[in-house]
């Protein structure tokens, strides 16, 4: 952590959190992409959650008299080769991406945060071995791990989430471990210890609470690649299985109609790209605002 923040922290133990809130407000004013990206992301999330509820169509409801329709009042984005409503399917796909992203990131936080926290707090041999393990995991390509696990568990959402969480936790563990290690030396933690605070109080109130922002940054940055990998696996047929309309499945199924009905492929493609782009902007904006170590990175 920065040296100039240390005296402040000694006076008021929770100063880092307050300073971070200020930094976030300033970042929102300075970074002109953060707010629009966050708004777009929010719209996509709300649409994915709400549309399947209010839509008059089920995602697998066929209507063979109305195939390949363009946008109409009844089907806002048109229909696919079986006359299914594209907007409804898109929203269901968004739900799946959302669930996969959130569940995977939560698993990452649980596994990586716990192991990283233990490694940083305990130190010594345990720390060394856990970090060796993360090194090993980081050296193994994520997509390959996902493919192998898909082979082992049989394709499906579970295999995707397990594979992505297994591939993602080491980075989370390293982040948390590094921060806990640095925080342990800070004056306000030393002061709390000297003042007779219990180990659990030091751990929860001072160490964990001051690491949460980094976990949030890491998680936001991770969701994009996670959703991307899920879409890739589903596109290849190794992820989410039909008839569940994941975005990868939507793109794969409309691929053969690219000549006659290009919108069918291009709309899900754009939705996926915009989502990933917005996630990247929000993640980098948050990182710049909350994590001083990445400031100035391109």
């Amino acid at each position: 952590m920065t040296a100039e923040a240390a005296p402040l922290a000694a006076v008021a133990p929770m100063a880092p959190a307050a300073a971070r809130a200020g930094r976030l407000r300033r970042a929102l004013r300075r970074d002109r992409t953060l707010l629009p990206a966050a708004v777009i992301l929010g719209l996509i999330v709300v649409a994915s959650l709400l549309l399947p509820v209010v839509s008059p169509y089920r995602y697998d409801q066929q209507s063979l008299d109305h195939t390949f329709e363009g946008p109409t009042a009844r089907h806002w984005l048109g229909t696919d080769q079986y006359g299914r409503d594209l907007l409804t399917r898109l929203a269901h796909g968004g739900r799946i991406s959302l669930v996969v992203g959130v569940v995977t990131v939560l698993a990452e936080i649980l596994l990586g945060g716990l192991l990283g926290g233990i490694a940083g707090y305990a130190g010594g041999v345990l720390d060394e071995w856990l970090m060796r393990l993360t090194d090993m995991m980081l050296a193994f390509p994520a997509l390959l791990l996902a493919l192998l696990l898909a082979a082992m568990l049989g394709p499906g959402v579970t295999a995707v989430v397990v594979a992505l969480a297994l591939a993602g936790w080491p980075a989370m563990a390293r982040t948390v471990r590094g921060e806990i290690l640095a925080l342990k030396q800070r004056e306000f933690v030393v002061a709390a210890r000297a003042g007779g605070a219990s180990a659990s109080r030091v751990l929860l109130r001072h160490l964990v609470l001051n690491t949460v922002h980094l976990i949030v940054v890491r998680a936001t940055l991770d969701i994009g690649p996670i959703i991307l990998t899920e879409a890739t696996l589903s596109f290849l047929g190794l992820g989410v299985q039909r008839p569940t309309p994941s975005w990868g499945v939507l793109i794969a199924d409309s691929f053969q109609y690219l000549q006659s009905a290009p919108a069918l492929a291009i709309i899900p493609c754009l939705t996926l790209s915009i989502t990933i782009l917005a996630l990247n902007f929000v993640g980098e904006g948050l990182a710049e605002a909350l994590d001083p170590s990445v400031r100035g990175a391109p």
Binding site: L147, A151, F235, I251, I266, L277
Partner: protein, 306 residues
């Protein structure tokens, strides 16, 4: 040097660990290999014989040692899906298209990304800088199959410039290489820009400016050589990215390469083939990571094994 030796030891340990993972995947995956090989034949005597021939009646660790020993000698067994064909042959046949595509993509990415990265670092906030950051962020955000869909739509189906799929002559390279190019280009542009930005404020660059060298000479003699190492090491990683991209690209464009072979093998539960491709990819990735680590240690003596 000590660092290199320790890093090499670690790399070998990771290789062994990944070979265990690849082996376990092949063993624990659903489906009995004996049944897969024999197909409809239901004869207990034959089944027992095949099981013994494959070594499947022995304990798991013995099976692993046998697998690892044969893998070290370069023998990965026989394909389940194509009985009588060795997996080695299948990999050897599928490798050239993948390697050529990845090589072409990374080569082009270096040719375009390095100048773009340098320009954007030297003249910050100019149009080139905006372009470079857009390429970097867009490349990271654009899924390869989305790029493929858009390119096929306009270049192949719209304007009929190039064929939309297949493999044969040079025209078949255009679309796959363009798709594979996106990620490495983003990556290389980003790293080049960061590398040059890291060197620019150094004292020796200021000195070179101070003694009156023209800007392009400062750049070519002092800045670029010092920024180059990171770019060269990153080219290795970009090659691994392109190899992973092969899974999607070869499936879309119907190219008979490693990626398509691996995806096909996964569907057919052809585990020897899956294991072979898994081992090959793991070895390439881990080897590249090793080289990148060594490269970083060369640039920055402060980086040491912790």
């Amino acid at each position: 040097m000590r660092f290199a030796v320790r890093r090499l030891g670690f790399t070998l340990a990771v290789l062994v660990a990944s070979s265990v993972v690849v082996f376990v995947v092949g063993r624990l995956a659903p489906g009995d290999p004996v049944q897969l090989l024999l197909g409809d034949v239901r004869d207990p005597v034959t089944e027992a014989r095949v099981r013994r021939e494959l070594g499947l009646d022995r304990p798991l660790w013995a099976q692993y040692l046998r697998f690892a020993g044969r893998a070290l000698r370069g023998d990965l067994g026989e394909s389940y899906a194509n009985p009588g064909r060795s997996v080695n042959r299948m990999v050897a046949e599928a490798l050239p298209p993948t390697a050529r595509l990845a090589g072409a993509a990374v080569g082009l990415a270096l040719l375009l990304g390095v100048p773009l990265g340098i320009l954007s670092a030297v003249r910050r906030a100019a149009a080139t800088d905006v372009l470079a950051r857009l390429v970097a962020l867009g490349g990271m955000s654009l899924p390869s199959f989305v790029a493929a869909v858009l390119l096929i739509r306009w270049l192949a189906l719209g304007w009929h410039v190039v064929p939309s799929s297949g493999w044969g002559d040079l025209r078949h390279y255009v679309l796959p290489v363009l798709v594979l190019l996106v990620q490495p280009l983003a990556y290389i542009t980003r790293v080049t820009r960061a590398g040059v930005l890291r060197v620019l404020p150094e004292d020796y660059v200021r000195t070179a400016h101070g003694k009156g060298l023209p800007p392009w000479q400062v750049l070519s003699r002092h800045v670029l050589p010092n920024a180059a190492i990171s770019v060269i090491t990153i080219a290795g990683l970009a090659f691994s990215y392109a190899l992973t991209g092969a899974f999607v690209v070869e499936t879309i464009f119907r190219i008979p390469g490693l990626g398509q072979a691996a995806v096909g093998a996964l569907f057919l539960r052809d585990y020897p083939m899956v294991q072979a491709v898994g081992l090959l990819y793991a070895a390439i990735f881990i080897g590249m990571n090793f080289l990148v680590d060594l490269g970083y240690a060369l640039i920055d003596p402060r980086i040491r094994y912790r």
